[in-house]
Symmetry: C2
Subunit: 233 residues, 2 copies
Amino acid sequence: MDEFSNLKSKLLAEQVQDQLFRYILNTPVPVGNKLPNEFELGQKFGVGRSTIREAVKLLVSRKVLEVRQGSGTYVISTTPADLDPLGLRAVEDKMTLALDLVDVRIMLEPGIAEMAALHASPEDVKKLDLLCRKIEKRINDGESYIDEDIAFHSCVAECSRNVVVKQLVPIIDTAVLMFVNITHQKLTDETVRTHRAIADAIAEHDTIGAKTAMMMHLTYNRELIKRLIREEP
Amino acid sequence: MDEFSNLKSKLLAEQVQDQLFRYILNTPVPVGNKLPNEFELGQKFGVGRSTIREAVKLLVSRKVLEVRQGSGTYVISTTPADLDPLGLRAVEDKMTLALDLVDVRIMLEPGIAEMAALHASPEDVKKLDLLCRKIEKRINDGESYIDEDIAFHSCVAECSRNVVVKQLVPIIDTAVLMFVNITHQKLTDETVRTHRAIADAIAEHDTIGAKTAMMMHLTYNRELIKRLIREEP
């Protein structure tokens, strides 16, 4: 293989890695479950088995997948190790972790939304509106909106003009990827409505409106997690 | 040199690295300033020049020091790169960063103190009391108490029993190292008094007391930073 085809096949494997990761999140393939075999995955993504093998290797190195000799490829986490600067993958009780994470978001994000309402520029307002509409479309199409959801909260953080917040919120919100299998496709109406309320309040520089809308948004999440904890076997 | 003396000299260089870092924080040697030469440092710490050279190398690799050929060794940051997971070293305007950091702490830490008052064990209460007394002794002796200060806030975070808080607070509070030259040895009375108020409220499981004492503690810090920003040339 020459230099150029080598590069091309690397780029392809990276793209397929991304598709495969989205497939795991969106299907969803829960942690502990087995992936379809290379042949099936190759057909699904329209690529050869060697590309699938490369993509799997990439997700193994990011500790999302594990290959068990003679048995198959298993999902071991929905949080790539490189997206886990807080080291939360190691926490065993994922439900408690989900609750602890939402409690931290409740301490931080309403105050951040308040600062965002104070400082957002017309461009920020447009970006938030666009993200709200993208999320609504994803939900209407029955698709996962996790990327856009993280982008929405990161954009609010960006609007705050606080450099620490800008670094911190993406870390915290990316941790939400860990529970994508838990809260997947629930609370869609509430999400659409409260995201919109947050975006509108920020557009009007209504600080209290932004703060309370964010609080309401996170309270729906907290109630869902508490309900799931209560219903656990 | 045999294996064993090699190991011994490595351990010595690491100890001297630590002493040298403390020396930079406590003197303080401000960012941009030059260190005394190897000979002087060797005398100060009672070690040879080769040990000083090793210790300097370690702090160069952690991006605290920079060796300028033919000129000397300079302090380029008081935050070792390995203690900066938020990448705040890169922010140029340190005063704005100090304010942004205290704003984030004000959003988070009063709620954390509240949770700590709810969950602290008798052992936690003892540990907080000990840390308060250590900080008080350091201040009375005119020494830096930055390590104990970070330990105090990390202990409160630990008491919260929230796994995300436990990971997050040390990251945020370690960032305070960055401003050690700015806020060094100021607010000592207020620190002693408000740390004690936080510890007492946690000991009594007084959630509102802990929350408001933490708020007061951080408000003193915020007022100091605002004052310093106003007085900047």
